[in-house]
Symmetry: C2
Subunit: 126 residues, 2 copies
Amino acid sequence: MMTMLQAYNVYEDRCPTRLVLDRLADKWALLILDRLESGPVRFNHLRRDIKGISQKVLSQTLKKLERDGLLSRAVFATVPVTVEYTLTPLGRTLTQTVAALAHWAEHNMDAVLAAQEAYDTAPSAR
Amino acid sequence: MMTMLQAYNVYEDRCPTRLVLDRLADKWALLILDRLESGPVRFNHLRRDIKGISQKVLSQTLKKLERDGLLSRAVFATVPVTVEYTLTPLGRTLTQTVAALAHWAEHNMDAVLAAQEAYDTAPSAR
DNA sequence: CGGGATCCGAGCAGATACTG
DNA sequence: CAGTATCTGCTCGGATCCCG
């Protein structure tokens, strides 16, 4: 199954997998997907929770993720209007992997920061 | 949200985990790490294998990954000089997750592409 | 072979203002 | 509340040339 589907080489340029990987290789997208894992969240709630993201970038990123079928957008005719973002089943299959990446970052950041310091203070010819 | 191990909140700005995640959220970095999984590779070999990457970006990305302690750089005094890039033990712990992400992209790209097409051809008020 | 240095253009991000 | 619109940097990436 796995071998059959692999009609494309990941390292090849212009392969569809690259397009998907490229979309996923986005700090904000990863954070948003991770944040939605626990359930639907409204726009300004996301904006508040994900510190440092601008309203424009949040809007753009949400639109891309919706286009990719990873999350869905639900509008409720309240006053004022309410919009909820929810992971689709497809998106939910991804969050496991995203969470794994986040956990790796969390558990290994000390090692990474130590490596950076060692690298920066190294007197060798760089 | 999460629980015990989380001394930092991933969604907080300026948290170290964010810095690491940000580094990982790089298409080229992911491809390079994935490519090095099977063993040491030389500079121009990487350049050839990872289609579409420029020499400058390859060089920059390798330097960042080395600084993060994810890969090591070995110079051999041949003529001309040979440079090999190898995953460090730390880097090797990451490739499992990176590979999982690549596999997800590969197995689900059809669904993603279908979702994109549906989104683009939708007549609804967007 | 394995890069560094430089120049340049496109795109992305920030800030601000406005709207249904 | 949940965005859109616009303007303005400013960084990133590509291309080119050069070197030990």
